[in-house]
């Protein structure tokens, strides 16, 4: 219809186009584009003595970004994100593979069992970990009852605990795209490969991984980027010893109250996101598959 009548139908299509796309455009422009532009503007603003934002141009916020204290936290945050992503691949890949390749009716059940924790409030689950790992927590009680240790072991407030919490929160984001990719994998290819004499590891390296690399990429993006911002995980489990960039930003918008500095810190996250998404697209990644 559009093609045949496109010319004289243009006018009659303006109204329906406006009605359908108009509200969406309004939301995206007013609540996504303008706020983000405003954050960029604010990152160049200064503050007065009452910590109010002043629209006076300054580069001070950016100068403060390169202070050694902050640099240490960027490094730490990137390291936590990197280790979390790798762990998610190492756990998520074989896991998704086994579930996707399950032939019986159990497959549906197995998949549902991944969704259920994902739909339970993440904060309360992270608190569950804290209860489990605390000095008076379950794990220490078990260890002490079994006389493996006499003194409680401090599990909390370490970088490793933050990584555990991040892996816990973000693992489903790795499993879902991998599962989708692995489910599409044609089983006969694997049979052909093994019939032709390839060892399982060769089949994995030459067939399975190349064919599912899209899932690995989108999963990695969906784990790595949020990891830089999940301040509540490091707050609850890391107790200030394993801050991520998100903690720095959160502080400026809560207690620190230096919004322009917080805005400048956010620019780092925006930059990292843009770079990673660009790489992802260059490698042939599909943006749509980032949508859970």
């Amino acid at each position: 219809m559009e093609k045949a009548h496109s010319k004289h139908n243009w006018k009659s299509n303006t109204l329906p186009a406006l009605v359908t796309v108009g509200p969406l455009t309004l939301i995206l422009v007013l609540l996504v584009a303008i706020p983000l532009i405003y954050v960029v503007v604010m990152s160049f603003c200064s503050i007065d003595q009452y910590y109010n934002v002043e629209f006076k141009f300054t580069l001070d916020n950016y100068k403060r970004l390169i202070s050694p204290d902050y640099m240490k936290i960027y490094g730490q945050s990137l390291l936590i994100a990197l280790v979390t992503t790798l762990l998610c691949i190492l756990i998520g890949y074989p896991f998704a593979y086994i579930i996707a390749r399950t032939k019986s009716k159990k497959k549906r059940l197995l998949y549902m069992l991944v969704i259920i924790p994902f739909w339970t409030n993440s904060l309360i689950r992270i608190y569950g970990w804290r209860t489990f790992l605390g000095n008076n927590g379950w794990l220490n009680s078990i260890l002490q009852t079994l006389h493996i240790t006499n003194e409680p072991i401090t599990f909390l407030y370490k970088q490793g605990t933050t990584v555990l919490g991040m892996v816990y929160c973000l693992l489903p984001f790795m499993i879902f795209p991998l599962y989708t990719a692995l489910e599409k994998l044609d089983g006969s290819l694997l049979e052909a490969s093994s019939d032709l004499g390839a060892k399982p590891l060769v089949t994995l390296r030459e067939i399975i991984i190349p064919l599912t690399s899209g899932g690995i990429f989108s999963g990695s993006i969906m784990v790595f980027i949020p990891c830089l911002g999940y301040f509540f995980v490091s707050d609850i489990l890391g107790g200030g010893n394993s801050d991520v960039i998100g903690n720095l930003i959160e502080r400026q918008f809560q207690s620190g109250n230096n919004w322009p500095l917080g805005a400048a810190l956010s620019i780092i996250l925006i930059a990292v996101t843009l770079i990673l998404v660009r790489i992802y697209k260059k490698m042939g990644g599909d943006m749509e598959s980032l949508g859970v």
């Binding site: 796309v21 969704i115 739909w119 339970t120 959160e250 980032l290």
Partner: protein, 267 residues
């Protein structure tokens, strides 16, 4: 024989591995469920003082907690309806019509999905402060619509990919106008995608902590209430409410998943 044993061994390792991952996923949830029946009444509510169901009764006397839960439900329902309507219309319009700036709108729709939530949260906070919108229910709903709209678009778009335009033509040729065609033809065909998007929007809204954290003002949602109580120790009634929500979630997951799978088979 040897091959068989090897296959069995492989299967055994797979089962052990998968079980361990599920244990990992469900361990903190079981902590929450067990602690909801803990008879302890002293902060930080960690030591085990025996089994009780009292917290499930006390929960209904905790107006603050129930109020927060009510806020969460109101925000989730309203923002889901809005996001689903806006996202569905938008996806259809983007699919059917050509217009200037379409590429920009398309690119903007990806931002809430890929950008760290904290950036979206603070950008909304700064703009709400700038234009003097008081933080509360309204700002929470606007924020939730913003981050869930793209997920509705993606879901509807996936359904549109296999959409046959000729049935709309047929409908209009038979005398139905645009609006009738939209409600009688377009919507029913897209329904599974719309439902999937709405479900996702709803769950994202209920679970959101980071974005809500920056725009809530005085209107606390249930996750924010949990966050506040974490400092002093989460009381067992919070665990009790979480357990009830968990049970509802399991029901919802079973309902939707079995429904989806059935539809797949029909196709």
């Amino acid at each position: 024989m040897k091959r068989q044993r090897k296959a069995k061994c492989k299967k055994g390792i797979s089962i052990i591995f998968v079980t361990l991952v599920y244990l990992f996923l469900f361990l903190p949830i079981s902590v929450v469920v067990v602690n909801s029946t803990n008879a302890t009444t002293t902060k930080p509510y960690l030591s085990w003082k025996g089994f009780t169901f009292d917290w499930y009764i006390k929960l209904f006397e905790n107006d603050e907690l129930l109020g927060a839960f009510g806020n969460t439900m109101i925000i989730a329902i309203v923002s889901t309806i809005l996001a689903t309507a806006i996202g569905t219309l938008g996806a259809i319009g983007m699919y059917k019509y050509k217009f200037k700036g379409k590429g920009i709108i398309d690119a903007l729709a990806y931002i809430p999905v890929v950008i760290p939530e904290i950036v979206l949260g603070i950008s909304l906070l700064t703009i709400f402060a700038k234009v003097n919108i008081p933080r509360g229910m309204l700002t929470l709903i606007l924020a939730h619509v913003t981050f869930s709209v793209p997920f509705v678009i993606f879901n509807v778009r996936a359904r549109l990919a296999g959409y046959d335009n000729s049935i709309e033509e047929a409908s209009m040729d038979l005398g139905a106008n645009r609006i009738v065609t939209f409600f009688e033809i377009t919507l029913p065909v897209l329904a599974p995608g719309i439902a999937g998007g709405a479900l996702l929007a709803f769950t994202l809204s209920i679970d959101d902590i980071i974005i809500s954290y920056f725009v809530y003002g005085q209107t606390k949602t249930y996750p924010l209430k949990v966050m506040e109580s974490i400092k002093s120790g989460v009381a067992p009634d919070v665990n009790a409410l979480s357990t009830l929500i968990l049970i509802a979630t399991i029901g919802l997951v079973i309902l939707t998943q079995s429904g989806l799978f059935k539809k797949k088979k029909e196709n």
